[in-house]
């Protein structure tokens, strides 16, 4: 078995950009290239056994951190269409990011990561993508809170933990969110509809404690329950521009019955996309370039992501079958 420490994602809930040098291979599911193929990162078995560091920070002691983390794990466990579970083993003096065969969640003081609230790392089996170990750190350079209703000017541990645990399970970033550039640099979230959006809500906001349709579809696609594949469907197709595939287009499927949105990206040179975990029925498809976060939040830096096209809707309603897929959809976008 080949084991290698692969730092896949850092700064997953940051206010703005990723730390330089980090590799992000993100879409709905985290993936890793093994030879010429790409495989999803997945835990081979459950429950995921985790430790919490025995150290707190101002306003959050170790016990409170553990409780908040446990609530976040439980939020993922309660997704009825997915099968994930976790088990708290105990407190540990160990720190996150140590190769110690333990999944450790805790605070680390990393003031140099001035826009990084938290991060998740993995130890993976590079032959098959199995996750062997994963750690999560919360940057103690920021003020934190576990208050039930949130606390002004302090970031909510449970919200950030929910996002990071999504990564721990193998989810990448979602692009369902809107941001604006800050005058001082970086981006500020205007709104988002996915816990897995790469930029966190402002301090004091606890909206990130609630999973959205996109998060639920993602975790269910990765770890489906027995009924998931029978109850939901998918839509697939290609995004093209001037007859050629578009890489990195953000495709959103909106259910006009509920208003919920689930998204994915066109991946590959042919512009192919697949959005799974959709409720059966008609969906509106909207295509946009990735413009609300740094591209490195979603793709490898070497990826040839095309952002030179206009936002548009597919000219038909895409009907998602129950337990199947609607395919052969081609969405032809136009250059800006």
């Amino acid at each position: 078995m080949t084991r290698s420490r692969t730092l896949l994602l850092v700064a997953l809930t940051v206010v703005v950009a990723l730390a330089a040098g980090d590799r992000a291979d993100g879409y709905l599911k985290l993936g890793v290239r093994i030879g010429s193929r790409s495989v999803s990162l997945q835990w081979p078995r459950f429950p995921v056994r985790y430790f919490v560091t025995d150290r707190g920070v101002a306003g959050v002691n170790a016990s409170q951190l553990q409780s908040a983390v446990a609530r976040a794990f439980d939020t993922w466990r309660r997704v009825s269409s997915a099968e994930v579970s976790s088990s708290f083993v105990g407190y540990t003096p160990a720190s996150p990011f140590e190769d110690d065969n333990m999944n450790v969640l805790g605070f680390l003081d990393r003031p140099e990561l001035e826009r990084v609230l938290g991060a998740t790392t993995f130890l993976i089996d590079t032959t098959d993508g199995e996750i062997l170990e994963s750690d999560i750190f919360f940057n103690s350079a920021f003020p934190w809170s576990v208050a039930s209703g949130g606390e002004a000017n302090r970031f909510d541990v449970e919200s950030i933990a929910l996002h990071e645990i999504g990564h721990l399970y193998g989810l990448g970033h979602s692009a369902i969110g809107e941001t604006e550039l800050r005058p001082t640099g970086g981006r500020r979230v205007i709104a988002s509809e996915a816990v897995m959006f790469p930029i966190a809500f402002s301090a004091g906001n606890i909206a990130g404690r609630t999973l959205k349709a996109d998060d639920i579809a993602g975790i269910s696609d990765l770890y489906p329950s027995n009924t998931f594949s029978r109850r939901t469907g998918s839509v697939s197709g290609r995004v093209t521009k001037n007859g050629k595939g578009v890489f990195g287009a953000h495709v959103v499927a909106m259910n006009p019955a509920t208003g919920t949105m689930v998204s994915n990206f066109s991946l590959g040179d042919d512009g192919a996309f697949v959005i799974a975990g959709l409720d059966p029925g008609p969906h509106v498809l909207r295509v946009e370039p990735v413009d609300d976060a740094d591209l490195e939040s979603f793709f490898e830096k070497t990826a040839n992501v095309d952002i030179d096209f206009k936002v548009m809707f597919f000219d038909r309603l895409a009907v998602v079958p129950r337990g199947g897929s609607t395919s052969q959809i081609e969405i032809a976008v136009k250059p800006k």
């Binding site: 709104a191 988002s192 006009p256 008609p282 548009m312 009907v319």
Partner: protein, 231 residues
């Protein structure tokens, strides 16, 4: 007796008066079996609106709207066949089947990133198999009984298939309405006893079938017209 009961009694009495006055001789000559073939036109019906919204960063505010949608089943034409058996000169039972291909249309507006407003559609093949009670209003017949109005009400099975048959939606269709038979000649003592035409207007309620949220109920108007063959 409350007002509703009074109204029902009055309505029943009116119907009896209208249907019961046909001459006995005429009733015996009425053909028993009738086949109708024709076209239908179903009116559109709204399926409601929805918006693609996101949770705003600031707490307590409204939701951020990415774009809005409004959906409807568009009006469409179709075909219908009905087989009627007249138990009396006034009362008959009718079985029918209809087919049409309305479009489910969703209007998209107000995209925050300036995607052009558009309407996206998908075809829906609709089949209805129903049964109904038909009451001929013989008392109101005109033009030497060649024009006979009628009332009807019934229910049936609704089956709607999205384009490509990728998904089926089923439900119940209830309907009530009225129309008129126009006979081209008096009944004859032949295999084909009489030919004519019919037209009717009905109010239809669908419970189930294609719906976008809500309680799955919607109503629409349907008009139909066609030829009638009596045997």
């Amino acid at each position: 007796m409350d007002n509703v009961t009074s109204l029902r009694v009055a309505t029943s009495a009116l119907l009896l008066a209208l249907v019961g006055a046909a001459p006995a001789a005429a009733q015996t000559r009425e053909p028993k079996t009738q086949l109708s073939l024709g076209g239908i036109w179903s009116g559109g019906s709204g399926l409601g609106s929805a918006a693609a919204t996101e949770t705003r960063n600031q707490t307590g505010g409204d939701r951020y709207t990415l774009f809005k949608t409004r959906s409807e089943i568009e009006a469409a034409g179709g075909l219908e066949a009905r087989l009627t058996y007249w138990f009396t000169g006034a009362i008959g039972l009718e079985a029918g089947a209809s087919w049409s291909v309305p479009r489910l249309a969703t209007r998209i507006t107000g995209d925050t990133e300036d995607a052009p407003d558009s309407t996206v559609r998908v075809d829906v093949a609709q089949y209805v198999i129903d049964g109904r009670v038909v009451v001929r209003l013989n008392r109101l017949a005109m033009a030497q009984r060649r024009v006979v109005p009628f009332l009807f009400g019934g229910a049936g099975y609704l089956r709607q298939l999205y384009e490509g048959n990728v998904l089926v939606a089923t439900g119940t269709a209830y309907h009530a309405g009225g129309g008129v038979f126009v006979w081209f000649q008096p009944p004859r003592d032949r295999w084909l006893k009489r030919t004519g035409a019919r037209a009717d207007v009905r109010w239809t309620a669908h419970d189930g079938g294609v719906s976008l949220g809500g309680n799955g109920r919607r109503s629409l108007g349907v008009v139909s017209a066609g030829v009638v063959l009596q045997f």
